[in-house]
């Protein structure tokens, strides 16, 4: 695992910050960001996929009232890919019975999806060697967050109650120079952090991103690490059971 990793610095991998508005579709936006990043890493082609298609074609109904990342991936598999954001733009509402998946050309697709090991070292390794992944966290500290690295305890941010999904795009270390540095940390000691892409617009947080402390399972970041698998289709040889 390298000491730092920031997929934002790789040209054309991370799409612009999205804004979910009053539609609770963080799960769909995080899944879209995951697919876009992996597609760019694998095929060196920048695409922006349709979040609205994930909402309209979701088997579970009203995606603006919440959902899960695996539902988004199942929708992509069922529809054999996703249309572009340009063709099928985000409206911020849901028309469950008006899935327009067949109307537009697919610009990206996935082979499968999987859940990663629930430990921060394994997550960092996968992030550095494969690409951004989706994680679910407890969002209670984010309403008032402006900038810096959040380091919480289970008492201040319960890691069991995750209710928001975002895209994990990197990690690094910073000097402990914040307001609490003198009281809680050794001066000059570096603080390891995760870099996360939110979907609340670029005017929130650090230009739409935020950072969580790495190594303390802050706000439950290890609870649901999921990623799509984007690759060339592999021709599978049929197998048969010996008679």
């Amino acid at each position: 695992v390298p000491p730092s990793c920031d997929w934002r610095k790789a040209a054309g991998v991370i799409s612009p910050i999205r804004d979910q508005g009053t539609c609770a579709c963080c799960w769909a936006m995080a899944a879209a960001g995951n697919i876009e990043a992996l597609w760019a890493i694998k095929f060196h082609q920048f695409v922006q996929v349709s979040v609205q298609e994930l909402l309209d074609c979701d088997r579970c109904g009203d995606g603006c009232k919440g959902g899960f990342v695996w539902d988004a991936f199942v929708t992509v598999l069922n529809n054999s890919g996703l249309a572009s954001e340009k063709d099928y733009p985000f409206r911020g509402d849901v028309r469950s019975h008006r899935c327009l998946a067949k109307k537009y050309k697919k610009v990206a697709w996935i082979q499968d999806f999987m859940m990663l090991q629930k430990n921060e070292q394994a997550i960092a390794r996968h992030l550095a060697t494969h690409g951004p992944i989706t994680v679910s966290i407890n969002k209670q500290l984010l309403q008032q967050y402006q900038r810096g690295v959040i380091k919480a305890t289970p008492a201040t941010c319960d890691p069991r109650l995750v209710d928001h999904t975002v895209l994990l795009v990197g990690f690094g270390k910073s000097k402990a120079v914040g307001p609490q540095a003198g009281a809680q940390s050794h001066p000059g000691r570096s603080t390891p952090y995760w870099i996360l892409k939110n979907s609340w617009g670029a005017r929130w947080g650090e230009n739409g991103y935020f950072r969580l402390h790495q190594g303390s399972n802050t706000c439950g970041i290890t609870k649901l690490p999921l990623t799509a698998l984007v690759d060339q289709p592999v021709k599978k040889h049929p197998i048969s059971c010996p008679p």
Partner: protein
């Protein structure tokens, strides 16, 4: 510049000024003076909450005025979250096969 958590210690008149700046910055309008007063009270509560978070945080985070400072915790949770994951969520621990000989 940004409005910081220490703004929570402002006097009432200053708080109203900060709230007006918030409305301008984030383009917020309210349906009536009563609704604006209610949002101002929520805003003041959130600034106090931000100050408390600032004191509790063990990292370098800064808390203060954000685009969501006029929302209650319940409104924020309802609008911006997803369904809370409960014990029924898939788990790699549960999916792992047992060792040979184990039930």
């Amino acid at each position: 510049g940004s409005l910081r958590a220490q703004d929570a210690g402002l006097q009432p008149l200053e708080l109203k000024e900060v709230f007006t700046l918030f409305q301008i910055r984030y383009n917020r309008t309210y349906s009536s003076p009563a609704e604006r007063a209610r949002r101002l009270a929520i805003f003041a509560h959130n600034l106090a909450q931000a100050q408390q978070l600032q004191e509790e945080d063990l990292g370098t985070a800064e808390f203060g005025v954000t685009p969501f400072s006029d929302l209650t915790e319940e409104e924020f949770g309802h609008i911006y979250g997803h369904r809370t994951v409960t014990g029924g969520a898939p788990s790699v621990d549960k999916a792992r096969s047992e060792e040979r000989g184990q039930p």
